[in-house]
Symmetry: C2
Subunit: 297 residues, 2 copies
Amino acid sequence: MSNVEVGQPFESRRLAHEAGVHRPLQAGICGTKKAGAESIVVSGGYKDDEDYGNVIIYTGHGGQDTSKNQVSDQTLEDAGNAALVTSHLEGLPVRVLRGAHKGSIYAPATGYRYDGLYRVTSYGSKLGIDGFLIWQFRLEAYQDTPVPEVVQQELPELPEIIPVPATGAPPAGAESPERVTTSVQRIVRSTAVTRQVKKWHEGACQICGVMVILPGGAYSEGAHIQALGSPHNGPDTTDNVLCLCPTCHVMFDGGAIVLTDDLTIMRNGTESGTLRTHPQHTINLACVAKHRNRWRQ
Amino acid sequence: MSNVEVGQPFESRRLAHEAGVHRPLQAGICGTKKAGAESIVVSGGYKDDEDYGNVIIYTGHGGQDTSKNQVSDQTLEDAGNAALVTSHLEGLPVRVLRGAHKGSIYAPATGYRYDGLYRVTSYGSKLGIDGFLIWQFRLEAYQDTPVPEVVQQELPELPEIIPVPATGAPPAGAESPERVTTSVQRIVRSTAVTRQVKKWHEGACQICGVMVILPGGAYSEGAHIQALGSPHNGPDTTDNVLCLCPTCHVMFDGGAIVLTDDLTIMRNGTESGTLRTHPQHTINLACVAKHRNRWRQ
């Protein structure tokens, strides 16, 4: 991988394999649950994929017949899918190789192209076009990974893009400690919507009740129930936002906590009290259901 | 502020005031604890300031005599300092106006210059050059705020820079919801150092003992005791890293939790058990003291 540049073309999977860009000759995901995914191939193999250039909605592995129809549910036990989850949890970069295929204006015209490093910023399950459960991963290009050139004129409508940091895009596995100043960077963004929700609850977590008091003031986080951005596309409204502590936020976003329609808190499948509410704070039950479904519950 | 561009010069504070860039005519910080800081002036008024262009170590307000010597301690009760804390906690952008002064190659040669929006990424206290307590705020330029042009040839050694996101730098107060996809964005970065520490503790929080289990696996965060990057400059070594849950991480980074030299956990000044340890995981007590001192404890 030492001499490969972003944008470099490869005539075949074999050549990409020899260059170390994507080692398997057939599998779309290279990696293990333990180490994370080191590379993926985006080549139109799954009809639920969506490619927006610097954002890719990538369908996980498994459940297809030989005609690329989904004939059974995908699972997170699949090694490739588990690898992408690890990449998300550990914040590891994933190399993206795009292959020529119809339906993506970002695909190369022929062969394959190395398109740089992406982060897995969220994941979840849904019913795919063929009616079976699929797992999808949202990948976002590192800031300094150039978006592949587009030859066609017309651009598709872009999904909302979470800004990504200019990390200097270290190759998978290599560390560049001189630029790493924190292992978890929280970028808090206050909006009128989240401020209103926090105000109603005075900063107390609606799940565990904890109020985080810092020397400078109370700290809480506005958490979207149905996540924003593709593939989730939740609304940015107060009835889709909870006031949570950082830990419950991570657990809620990661599917360890879901809510029932009567706002019972389910922790990894076990009842654990009721969501704290406020008379002015309506909760959108359709969003609650979407979040629950995303985690197969 | 509607017609002001990044890089625009102002001959005087009065003209910057009239343009709405920085409203007060004398105070260096414009803002309130409730609303946050809307703008600051960087003009060499405090000798502990450090200016690295897209990173500024900005000394808070107060405690000076008329010759700009520090003669008493600064406090977070000061309205300007409290405003900058709110900007940090709420993730609000701050306008930066640089004034001509010696000692910064990023200052304009004469008058003032609007240098765009910055985020307050951390803060803490220390003994200043004059021997009194000062509060310092680390400000980082939004990705698309150009670094001011430097006329001199020689660059100072830069501090480690936390990458900042390309958020489209909304003006203070204005929201651009079409680009905001989450109110708290966690960018997790795994390094050999944090992975080792998490492994020792099997993902359990060293402060509260919680283990966050997500469907994809355990989730914990590597937290630096003495923060990395200027003005803290802690080492990126396992003896300076704790394995924490997200909430304890926020509380530790925000000074609500500090450790004594015998690793007693102090929560807002009250003893609260002892840090969980592991025989292989040495804790650097010098870093523990630096973190404690940062929070005046």
